[in-house]
Symmetry: C2
Subunit: 105 residues, 2 copies
């Protein structure tokens, strides 16, 4: 475990996913210690699903996987930023490239 | 309240702050219903401080404020992305422009 605040293995860290090339924000997911370790090891992004309460590899079913290009933590070590290469067409289950497609203002 | 999931006024929504011009990710903070309303009304970013347990206007003391350029919610309406114009020099209390200055990989 590289310097992240996972004092408990079930603790969740919000993780921002950014397209490494276009710098577009694609989604925000949650990592626990195990999904972080798997992401580091495999070079593709794993999250913790809060609704299904299990580890999931992004794109395992949809095919839209996230290849890790760089990982940053924030000053407090309680948030992550991962720059990715999107393998596939889009990230969001709605068919949008990014999950942040709803413009409020 | 514009279409966000704040079923309780104390519920917290992770909020990604992105430089509207450079697209750099500057920080991740948390909003509750009240800080979201104040942000919408005033056009500058307010967060909920989890450690101090109160609303705070980003830059109130440091002077490094965040002017709102655009706000997006994600597909599940449980995360926010705010594109900002940084008023001041940097966002992080360490003196770095972005809080995500620690490269893990």
């Amino acid at each position: 475990m590289k310097k992240m605040n996972f004092p408990r293995s079930d603790l969740l860290i919000p993780t921002v996913i950014q397209d490494a090339k276009t710098l577009e924000i694609l989604m925000l997911g949650y990592m626990n210690r195990r999904s972080f370790n798997k992401t580091l090891k495999e070079g593709q992004v794993y999250f913790w699903s809060r609704s299904r309460r299990k580890i999931w590899k992004k794109g395992e079913i949809s095919g839209n996987k996230l290849g890790v290009k760089a990982i940053f933590s924030d000053c407090d070590k309680d948030a992550l930023l991962i720059k990715v290469k999107l393998i596939g067409k889009n990230v969001c289950h709605t068919g949008n490239k990014s999950c942040f497609y709803r413009k409020i203002l």
